[in-house]
């Protein structure tokens, strides 16, 4: 299994670098251009959610794992536990996070958000080939 790892400071400026690396890996892996576009958005959402909720300097780690039948991408952070927030704002519009989760659910074949031992979350995205 081919594995590529990337670690960035929890700052918005670096999300584009992850997107660029992932889209290059996805193209090399032979994924369709539409799947590449979907994956770019999903990875961007996962990194954005991690960046927005990481108050300190703990880096965000991204792991690209390529297997014959699927690609798995894990985005791991050390952000503090968050409480469930209201999906709609006071005027009834979806919050950014609600839209982010809708995109994550819809753009990849499998999306999981799990708490990590030692603190933080891991977002796991799977795309079948």
């Amino acid at each position: 299994m081919a594995m590529v790892e990337l670690s960035i400071p929890p700052r918005s400026a670096y999300v584009g670098v992850v997107r660029l690396a992932v889209s290059s890996l996805a193209r090399k892996a032979g994924l369709d251009e539409e799947v590449v576009d979907d994956l770019k958005i999903a990875v961007s959402e996962a990194c954005t959610n991690a960046v927005e909720d990481t108050p300190g300097d703990d880096p965000i780690s991204i792991r690209w794992m390529e297997e014959d039948d699927r690609v798995t991408i894990e985005i791991a952070d050390r952000r503090p536990s968050s409480n469930a927030e209201d999906p709609l704002d006071t005027q009834g519009f979806s919050t950014r996070l609600t839209m982010s989760l809708a995109l994550l659910e819809s753009l990849v074949d499998s999306f999981e958000l799990t708490a990590r031992e030692g603190g933080g979350y891991c977002t796991r995205l799977v795309v079948n080939r």
Binding site: K40, T48, F93, L103
Partner: protein, 113 residues
């Protein structure tokens, strides 16, 4: 990964032509521009997304925020978008019901008058 923003006035509308990638890093620039427009009295705004290569929840959040601002002044915010990959994002998040989405700037201006 630059975001280009050009503002022009067409009749009573302010048209913002956006170019590049709208993400968590670049979205603040778009947010500021839209806030500036509204604070200067532009309540009928068209955001032209035809030159946008990338859009995610951060960009959507900025557009929703701008919509709330113009609505507070009985204004309108409409979008121009024909790119499938961008339209898809609005569909998934249910925002096609929230924003008027047009095929051209001309159509957007006619449609909200």
């Amino acid at each position: 990964m630059e975001l280009g923003l050009d503002v022009r006035t067409v009749g009573s509308h302010s048209v913002v032509d956006v170019k590049g990638e709208i993400d968590v890093y670049t979205a603040p620039k778009l947010r500021e521009k839209l806030i500036e427009l509204v604070s200067q009295g532009s309540y009928d705004v068209v955001v032209n997304l035809e030159g946008v290569d990338f859009l995610d929840s951060t960009g959507l959040g900025v557009l929703v925020g701008a919509l709330k601002r113009v609505k507070a002044h009985d204004g309108s915010l409409s979008l121009v978008c024909t790119q499938d990959k961008i339209l898809k994002i609005f569909k998934i998040t249910g925002l096609t019901k929230v924003f008027p989405i047009h095929g051209s700037v001309e159509e957007a201006i006619g449609g909200t008058d």
